[in-house]
């Protein structure tokens, strides 16, 4: 029994190091100067450097805004499409249900390079390349599978049992949706929103290609700095990325799990 626990502890520690080491390296890169071969530790470390840079640099700020704009637009568009789709898939039987089910997952299965070059070609054809809507709709394409899946798994738990009860008691469809469907399935909605936000924030090639360089988001800007060896600058964008993804998501998670009773 004891040796089993020790094995687990060792595996856990290795796993933790493998996951956290890269993040630690990026964190150190962002606050240090001249950290190169053969020194094991940066020559000097300046804790304030990152924040001074963050507040001074117009580029970091503008790419932060681009990232958030696209992410919020993508969340809205994705949920607007995914919610009805997930409801249809979980509540009703209809012709073409199987096909719809497959279609939703296609963006994850088709090689993204093929999908993107074709989408870019189509966007150019319709003059949508470089536009906000163009980029958001491509992001949405990659977010839909996750959003639909997360919402579906939650909705299928009760199907439309409670909606039927609500409408039977005299609520309108809209009232039923906002007072019964959404509150009962808030776990699924939370998951879908979070996942969509993350997927949109992490997009690189779709943002660059479809956006024609108009949307230099945080993850897009990390690329040229990385390829040209300016790791410190790349790390600064990386830390900013973590600030606006991990911290809010973590807070939402705590807030939701501690607020109110859990259903199921």
């Amino acid at each position: 029994m004891e040796s089993k626990k020790i094995t687990k502890l060792v595996v856990y520690l290795i796993f933790a190091v493998l996951i956290l080491m890269p993040l630690f390296v990026i964190f150190m890169l962002a606050i240090s100067k001249t950290w190169s071969y053969p020194s094991l530790w940066p020559k000097w470390v300046d804790w304030g450097y990152y924040f001074r840079f963050l507040f001074k640099s117009k580029e970091v700020q503008s790419s932060l805004i681009s990232s958030l704009e696209l992410a919020i637009g993508t969340v809205i568009l994705t949920i607007a499409i995914a919610y009805p789709t997930a409801m249809a898939l979980s509540y009703y039987d209809f012709k073409g249900k199987k096909l719809l089910n497959v279609l939703v997952y296609l963006p994850l299965i088709i090689p993204s390079i093929a999908l993107l070059t074709n989408m870019d070609f189509i966007m150019i054809k319709y003059g949508l390349n470089g536009s906000f809507f163009g980029v958001v709709s491509v992001h949405t394409l990659f977010c839909l599978p996750y959003a639909v899946k997360l919402l579906y798994d939650n909705l299928i738990l009760w199907k439309d049992k409670y909606e039927v009860a609500s409408r039977n008691l005299g609520a309108s469809s809209l009232q039923t949706f906002f007072k019964v469907t959404v509150p009962m399935n808030k776990n699924g909605l939370q998951g879908a929103v979070m996942m969509t936000y993350i997927v949109s924030m992490t997009q690189y090639l779709s943002t660059l290609l479809i956006g024609d360089g108009n949307y230099l988001t945080l993850s897009v800007r990390m690329f040229p700095f990385t390829t040209s060896g300016k790791y410190r600058m790349a790390a600064v964008y990386g830390i900013t990325f973590m600030l606006v993804t991990l911290i809010p998501l973590y807070l939402i998670d705590i807030w939701v799990t501690h607020k109110g009773r859990k259903i199921a």
Binding site: I109, L115, D153, Y204, S219, T226, Y231, F241
Partner: protein
Amino acid sequence: MHYYTDALNNKVFLKIFFRTFIFALFSAVMACFFGVVLAFLFKKNDNTFTKPFFKLAQLPVMLPHIFIVLALLQLLSQTGLVSSLLTKIGIIHSYNSFPLLLNDQWQIGIILTYLWKEVPFVIVSLVLVLRQMDNRYRIVSENLGATKWQTFWRVSLPLLMPAIVNAFIINFSFNFGAYEVLYLLGNQTKELLPVYIYDLYVQGDYTQLPMIMSLNLILSVFSIAFAGIVLWLSKHLPGGHTGGI
């Protein structure tokens, strides 16, 4: 139409295609293997490590690939931190004797990047199913006389199979078609498909376009067919019926 036959007769394309397929398959299988092992190791709810373990596993899922690429560059390149450490303690004399792990022929850097992202992804997608299953069927199996191993192979693993297959397909398709990591850590002599297509698309003129479109279509059809075959196999091999668990 002749674009399709051209593509299928194109030796370079076929070679790259085959290389990419093996590479994507290998990375996805590795990710699923480690993910399943780890998920099982930490699935029990009474385990002290379980909660922090799953919180940790969520981290890589939330970060873009460029994160791990950047860290790998700082850690594993010939002038990286590991190389520095080995020089310090005298195992190697200079960075020249540190093996080439990034932009190498064997795509080690890319595989490491994918594993860092995908092993946690597999874990996260299995957690939910594992929680739902809790101990129900394990208890039955052990009451009927099965050992722990028999229970794992005959009951737990088959019940988890649909979730594993889904994660595998998603990982494989990503590995097969994603561009950005290959662009950062790829090796020019061992080019992989996404880079090949991207270069054709960006550098080529409009006369090349039909050719690229037909390549895209071939790749898409192939990916969908591959996913379909994997799904079909997982459903029709013994133990494939799970009754919606």
